[in-house]
């Protein structure tokens, strides 16, 4: 079990460019979560999929951010027209079921917008 795999581990983009972050959940897990972590804001929930369907995107910024889960083996978080304030560590997590089951995190993608 390789755990939750996130790629790339580090990404540097220029202001205004697009960034796509990838996550491969643990095989067999039906719930996939995206979080963002910064020193100032701490750990913030962004969005969540269950059986590939988007369930709750209440934490996603309304503009420029989108997430998809085209199949059970990967999810993507896309940020259009990146801004310096988007710089953060983006964490993906998965769990066997949607509530009251253990959640496992990937190592994160550190996004730096210059």
């Amino acid at each position: 079990n390789a755990g939750v795999i996130q790629t790339p581990r580090h990404k540097v983009t220029g202001k205004g460019q697009e960034a796509t972050l990838w996550c491969e959940p643990i095989s067999g897990h039906s719930a996939v979560f995206w979080y963002r972590q910064t020193i100032v804001q701490g750990l913030e929930f962004l969005t969540y999929f269950r059986n590939q369907a988007p369930i709750d995107d209440s934490g996603m910024p309304k503009e420029r951010f989108s997430a998809q889960m085209p199949n059970q083996s990967h999810s993507t978080l896309k940020i259009q027209s990146t801004q310096p304030q988007d710089s953060a560590v983006y964490l993906c997590a998965s769990s066997l079921d949607f509530a009251n089951t253990e959640v496992f995190f990937g190592k994160g993608t550190r996004l730096t917008v210059v």
């Binding site: 701490g42 750990l43 969540y48 709750d56 964490l91 995190f105 190592k107 994160g108």
Partner: protein, 109 residues
Amino acid sequence: GDKVKQSPSALSLQEGTNSALRCNFSIAATTVQWFLQNPRGSLINLFYLVPGTKENGRLKSAFDSKESYSTLHIRDAQLEDSGTYFCAAYVGDNSKLIWGLGTSLVVNP
């Protein structure tokens, strides 16, 4: 951080000593997880708890749903225990974990 309050917010320990971290819940938590975020940023699973206790090596954790708290005990602290400890709780069938703000632990030689 309002619904899950972690204490202390920061802690410094000498190697070999013991300590306890605590989470108090103002929500009806059903299950609790404890994580360690190491200096490299990885979130490591320590415990997943229904009401009760678990032990793993030098770590022991308890979750009391009636009294709405959870504790993490560290025995014989080692340098590699340094990092930020987070607790997070599920409430009923709500699919979103509710997080504490973390306890920053430094273990000194």
